[in-house]
Structure formats: structure tokens, C-alpha cells
């Protein structure tokens, strides 16, 4: 199967977009995990104090 230059460009563009989306999702997930971890630590610290 022969591909035209335009088709190759399109395939590369689509692949690149997919990779970029995956990277973005991973970054968002990492940020979310970081935020959850910070919130969890704040919660543990607050619970560690007595109710006074």
C-alpha cells in the first residue's frame, strides 16, 4: 500500500495528538494524585489534634 505525503502527514499529526493527549491526561492524573495526597495529609494533621 502506497501512502501519499498528505496521508503520512495526517497520520503523524493524529499520532502526535494522541500522544499529547495521553501525556496531558497523565499530567492531570499526577496533579490530582498530588492534590489528594496533600489533602489527605492535611486531614490527618487536623484529626491528630484533640477536639479542644
Amino acid at each position: 500500500m502506497k501512502l501519499t505525503k498528505t496521508q503520512i502527514k495526517q497520520i503523524i499529526k493524529e499520532e502526535l495528538e494522541q500522544v499529547m493527549n495521553e501525556v496531558e491526561l497523565e499530567e492531570q492524573e499526577a496533579l490530582r494524585e498530588e492534590a489528594d495526597s496533600a489533602a489527605k495529609q492535611e486531614l490527618i494533621d487536623a484529626l491528630s489534634q484533640p477536639m479542644k
Binding site: 492535611e42 486531614l43 490527618i44 491528630s48 489534634q49
Partner: protein, 350 residues
């Protein structure tokens, strides 16, 4: 039975002594309780090991409930200069012990006039996870009480213990309030299934009012309703210097089952990004969502899917961003009012 378990059972019975109101004049109550406490300890603590375990249990409970909690959590930061009272005097055990604990420790020969040491904070740090996760049943407490014939020291006390026999074990529901919490913590908790390790020991109460009062001290309040099916915890209660708080020390893994969040939001006008004076009240659990503006319901849905219908909304609102909602052709743009959240969390402890 281990000395540690005996110590906790004895503490439960001693707690009952200080909850008991003897039929004497007000001036004699402390004297009668002291007599009862001394006799109770003599009947129940049979070995040096049991006495030592009991003393360490009371010291640990006291350091968490009325000592310097930061030293309990991290004894390495302790120093003689920091171990002081508000008036600058050096902190001694007698300054932080409840009357009942002071009487009990003195009866066992513990020098309550001495300064609190770093080693004692280290010991408390080590013992708290164990004390807070101990499971003691009502029947175990009653068995020890009957076997040692503690009831013979006061007939009314015996009757009170028997009448209260179903409540001598740990309470099945415990409460904990928090206030002035960041929205990120509310967001983290409004999430069924999340869990965290609280094995270091946490102060809770079997009295809803105490936890609620603490929650109401500031905005963004949280109240935990913790199901304690396994009966864990150390009942500090009347042995704590803060007796009215009905305190229970608890440790274990906490898992969120459900929540009820109430939050207020302003509706944004497109034209000038101003906000309507009348606030939008949002109430939601993992299964329903309800929004009202004044008496008018602007949105309501039951049996919703948490991950698609509720979580994205909460993530947006609790991050301080504007959330857009369309209902019956009208678009609402709402933004959470700072510190306006109240979260009731139902959780299990195991």
C-alpha cells in the same frame, strides 16, 4: 489475659467509678469516689506488670487528651524549655491529670508531682496505636468486675454497673468534628471509598453534640459519623481532664461510605460577572443532588451516577471555579461561597 488488656478493662471500670454519683452530700462526692477508686484498683490489679501497664495506659491517654499533642506525635521535638504551661511554669503531671486519674496514679505510687519527660512522650507515641485499637466487650468488663467482687465496695455502684452493662464496651458509633478546613479536604472526603490510615490514634467522642459544637467553631466544617462495629477504642471519658467531651481514643483505618454536603454558591450574571444576592443552596450525597434558590428548586436529581453527575460538579465548585448547569433551557453559572461548606461523612473504622 495480657497485662495490657487487663489495664484497659480496669480503666473502663475506673471510668464508671468517676461517672457514678454516690448518694452523699456534694462535699463528700470526691472523697467517696477516691475511696471507691482505691479499693477498685486494689481488687483488680494483681501483679506489678498489670500495675505498670495500667499506669502507662493512663499516662498515654492523659498526654493525648490534655498534654502537648505535638510532642506525642513527634517526641523528638520535645525539650525542657518547651514543656511548660501557659504561665511559663514547668509542666508536671498534676497539671494535666483529671481528678480520677490523679487519684488512681497516686494510689499506685506514681509521683504525679514530677515533671513530664521526653521518654514518657515517646512511650505514649508507641502505645497510642495499641490503646486506640483495643477491642473490649461489655461482657469482658462485667466479668472482671464480678470476678474481683468490685461490687462489694458500694451496693449502689454495683447496681449502676449492672444497669449500664450494655454500655461498658466501646460505643458502636463515634463522632469527630473539624472546622475551618480547606476546600481541598472537603473535596477529598466527598468521595465514597477513600480511606486513610489513622493508626496513630485520634480523639473522638460518643457524644454527637461535642463533635458538632467543635465543627461549628468555623466555616467549612466536617463531622464524622464513624461506625465502630468491631468495638475498638479506649474510653477516656471521665478519666480525661475534659470530661464533658465524652472522649474516646480511636485508631485504625477509616473508609468513607457516604457523605452529605451542603454548600452555598452565588449565581453569576453574564453581563458584569456580579453575583445575585440570593444564594444557591446545594445539597448532595453520593446518590442525589438538589439545588435551591430561596424557596425555588432549580435542579434536582435522584439515583444519579456519582462519578459522572456529582464528582465533576464538586471538583469544579470546591476548586473555586464557576460551574455551569443547564436545566429547562436556563443556564446557571454558580460559584461556591468561601467557607460555606458543611460536610457530614459516614465512615467505618477497622
Amino acid at each position: 489475659m495480657s497485662a495490657a488488656k487487663t489495664a484497659i478493662i480496669v480503666a473502663r471500670i475506673l471510668n464508671q467509678v468517676y461517672r457514678f454519683e454516690p448518694n452523699v452530700g456534694p462535699n463528700q462526692v470526691k472523697y467517696v469516689q477516691k475511696q471507691m477508686a482505691t479499693k477498685t484498683l486494689a481488687k483488680l490489679l494483681k501483679t506489678d506488670e498489670e500495675e505498670k501497664a495500667f499506669i502507662n495506659t493512663i499516662l498515654t491517654m492523659t498526654l493525648l487528651t490534655s498534654g502537648a499533642v505535638d510532642f506525642v506525635r513527634n517526641p523528638e521535638i520535645w525539650s525542657p524549655e518547651k514543656s511548660i504551661n501557659k504561665d511559663g511554669t514547668k509542666r508536671r503531671w498534676s497539671h494535666i491529670l483529671s481528678n480520677g486519674s490523679d487519684v488512681a496514679l497516686s494510689a499506685l505510687g506514681f509521683p504525679t508531682y514530677e515533671l513530664i519527660t521526653k521518654e514518657q512522650y515517646q512511650l505514649a507515641n508507641k502505645l497510642l496505636p495499641m490503646i486506640g485499637s483495643t477491642v473490649i466487650s461489655s461482657s469482658e468488663v462485667m466479668e472482671a468486675f464480678t470476678k474481683a467482687d468490685v461490687g462489694s465496695i458500694n451496693k449502689d455502684f454495683k447496681a449502676a454497673m449492672t444497669g449500664d452493662k450494655d454500655h461498658l464496651g466501646a460505643e458502636k458509633v463515634l463522632y469527630r468534628g473539624l472546622h475551618s478546613m480547606p476546600a481541598s479536604v472537603i473535596k477529598f472526603l466527598a468521595n465514597p471509598g477513600v480511606s486513610w490510615d489513622m493508626s496513630r490514634g485520634v480523639s473522638t467522642s460518643y457524644d454527637y453534640g461535642s463533635a458538632e459544637g467543635f465543627m461549628n467553631k468555623g466555616g467549612n466544617g466536617i463531622i464524622f459519623h464513624m461506625k465502630n462495629e468491631t468495638g475498638r477504642g479506649f474510653t477516656a471519658d471521665a478519666l480525661s481532664k475534659y470530661k464533658p467531651e465524652r472522649e474516646v481514643i480511636l485508631s485504625g483505618k477509616i473508609v468513607v461510605e457516604d457523605f452529605m454536603l451542603t454548600v452555598y454558591a452565588g449565581e453569576e450574571f453574564d453581563q458584569d460577572k456580579g453575583f445575585d444576592d440570593e444564594l444557591v443552596k446545594i445539597e448532595c450525597t453520593k446518590e442525589f443532588i438538589l439545588m435551591r434558590k430561596g424557596n425555588k428548586m432549580i435542579y434536582g436529581k435522584r439515583n444519579v451516577d456519582f462519578s459522572t453527575d456529582i464528582k465533576p460538579m464538586l471538583d469544579t465548585l470546591l476548586s473555586g471555579q464557576t460551574f455551569e448547569l443547564e436545566n429547562k433551557g436556563k443556564v446557571y453559572k454558580i460559584k461556591m461561597l468561601d467557607k460555606s461548606a458543611t460536610l457530614k461523612v459516614t465512615a467505618t473504622i477497622s
